[in-house]
């Protein structure tokens, strides 16, 4: 999956990845795809819950080695 913006939050513990993602998403345009790179094992579940609360969409989650790649669609 292609992303418009990539947020690299590898080796950052909670709440680092989510704060970095939320900050980028707040500045992104509706419809854009933001890719979060994270190694925090809580990131997949945290991003899912955050997306449910905020109305953004988790489009895909992949794991490459120790790194999670989480694609989020920015809502309007």
């Amino acid at each position: 999956m292609n992303a418009d913006i990539t947020v690299d939050a590898k080796f950052k513990s909670c709440p680092g990845p989510l704060i970095a993602l939320a900050d980028t998403v707040s500045k992104a345009q509706p419809g854009q795809v933001v890719k979060l790179l994270a190694t925090d094992p809580a990131a997949p579940s945290d991003v899912k819950e955050w997306a449910l609360s905020t109305g953004h969409t988790v489009l895909a989650m992949e794991k490459s080695g120790e790194v999670y790649e989480i694609f989020v669609g920015v809502s309007g």
């Binding site: 080796f11 950052k12 513990s13 909670c14 989510l18 704060i19 939320a22 945290d46």
Partner: protein
């Protein structure tokens, strides 16, 4: 709108960090967050406050935290707080009784403190919370 209410009763980093993490995570998730800083927690609101260490009981692990903060794997609590405050969804109250106990005035506190409050005011703000915790 969901809401979290926290009573923060310690200025030590191992108490402050989880409190601020929850408040900011709530705020960036669209929740309101009401924080009441009381007793030793009030000291964290003093202008220019920087935590000097962990609670005495956990002194043996202090080095672990220092390393994690230095490497950036755990973010600085003030940076986390600022991200939360930027949403406009976090409100911070300073306990009037603790303020008096320490001989402090509102001008001694950080500008992000919304107001000085008593128990009745905080109860009113916290009423109807979905999550409420006392962190000490």
């Amino acid at each position: 709108m969901s809401k979290i209410s926290l009573i923060v009763a310690s200025e030590k980093i191992d108490k402050l960090f989880p409190a601020i993490t929850l408040a900011t995570t709530a705020a960036i998730s669209g929740w309101d967050a009401e924080l009441f800083f009381t007793f030793w927690g009030l000291l964290a609101l003093k202008k220019g406050y920087a935590p000097s260490g962990v609670s005495l009981d956990y002194k043996a692990y202090e080095e672990k935290l220092t390393q994690a903060l230095a490497s950036g794997s755990i973010p600085d609590w003030k940076t986390v707080l600022e991200q939360g405050l930027a949403t406009g969804r976090i409100r911070i109250y300073a306990c009037s009784t603790s303020l008096g106990m320490f001989g402090l005035k509102q001008e001694d506190l950080e500008s992000f403190v919304d107001s000085i409050a008593g128990a009745a005011t905080f109860l009113s703000k916290a009423k109807g919370s979905d999550v409420s915790l006392f962190i000490s």
